[in-house]
Amino acid sequence: MIKRLIPLLLVISLFFILLKVATNVAPNYDLTGVAKTYAEQGASDLGAMNLVTAIVVTYRGLDTLGEVTVLFMAGTGIALLLRRKKKKNDSGIKNRAASEILKTGSKLLVPIITMFGAYIFINGHLSPGGGFQGGAAIASAVMLMFLADSSFKINHKVFVLIESFSGIFYVLIGVLGLVILGADNFLDNRILPLGTFGTILSAGTIPLIYTLVGLKVGTELASILDNMKGELE
């Protein structure tokens, strides 16, 4: 009884805290503060149609860099934690083969999904989506392959290289801002021309960055999946 009572009390207490918020939420009628500035200047400053992307990649680029770092680190960490012993006995349990539907379906779908992912991150500054979303889509393609073929292995070396260099280039692009534009321009997308508003090759480095992010996220998530899919012991 008491074991349930304390959680109950705590959750009720939390409820009251949230209740206070809920009862005091006033619906917004207008943009305020920084959002308004973004809405008014975002397009002209950065040349990105998607304001969220503008914010994510440039205005709050440092956050995104951090975000990428977090994901990278999670991948690294998972690899570290789930590292396997060198001596691996392959004669272990044979995984059951996937069904024919899955195999065939995946063969059909994987290229499409991958392409869709690439589309998402390349068009991140124009339409909803971006590097993370695209990366996730690519990773889901890899996952599908794992499901379809138990013996499927990703090429770790390539993945690592992609991961590393997309990250490094991302950082380098940021640093280029410092080098080209000045001390306050880390991650500034304007080291490349902003181009024509609304086209693919616009918004300076945003598409480039999102491409790198997309590659990076895709490979990282795929590596995480690879690590977590088992074959331990």
Binding site: K3, R4, I6, P7, L10, V11, L14, F15, L18, V21, A22, V25, P27, N28, Y29, D30, L31, V34, A35, K36, Y38, A39, E40, G42, A43, M49, N50, L51, V52, A54, I55, V56, R60, D63, T64, G66, E67, V70, L71, M73, A74, G77, I78, L81, L82, L126, S127, P128, G130, F132, G198, I224, N227, M228, L232, E233
Partner: protein, 120 residues
């Protein structure tokens, strides 16, 4: 009852449900799920805070007139934040599950009560 309020209430409810799960479930994976639910709730609340009834997404395409953009779109900032929050949440959850995998290998138990070696 407009859409913002509904999302708010849903978000808060998810937070409470998540916490309830964390506080009452003994299975570590369920606790992680509880946390994930809380995160989701928070993310919903965040998005809801940026939402303005009757406006469109912050994408300045043909639907939005550039000069009047600030009166036509919802707040883009919470959306940007949520994006980051989701990614970080994913990373943390993945890592937590990794820990659970490793813990399970050591003790063959998923109950949180079995990991009390360190105390006092």
């Amino acid at each position: 009852m407009n859409i913002t309020t509904i999302v708010h209430i849903t978000g808060f409810a998810l937070i409470l449900i998540g916490f309830w799960g964390m506080l009452t479930q003994k299975n570590m994976i369920k606790i992680i799920l509880g946390l994930a639910i809380v995160e989701t709730g928070v993310q919903l609340v965040m998005v809801a805070f940026g939402f303005i009834d009757g406006r469109t997404a912050p994408i300045l395409d043909s639907a939005v007139e550039l000069s009047k953009a600030s009166s036509l779109i919802v707040d883009p900032v919470p959306q940007a934040l949520v994006l980051t929050a989701i990614v970080i949440g994913v990373a943390v959850n993945a890592l937590m599950l990794t820990f659970v995998i490793r813990l399970y290998q050591q003790k063959k138990s998923l109950s949180i009560n079995d990991y009390k070696d360190l105390k006092w």
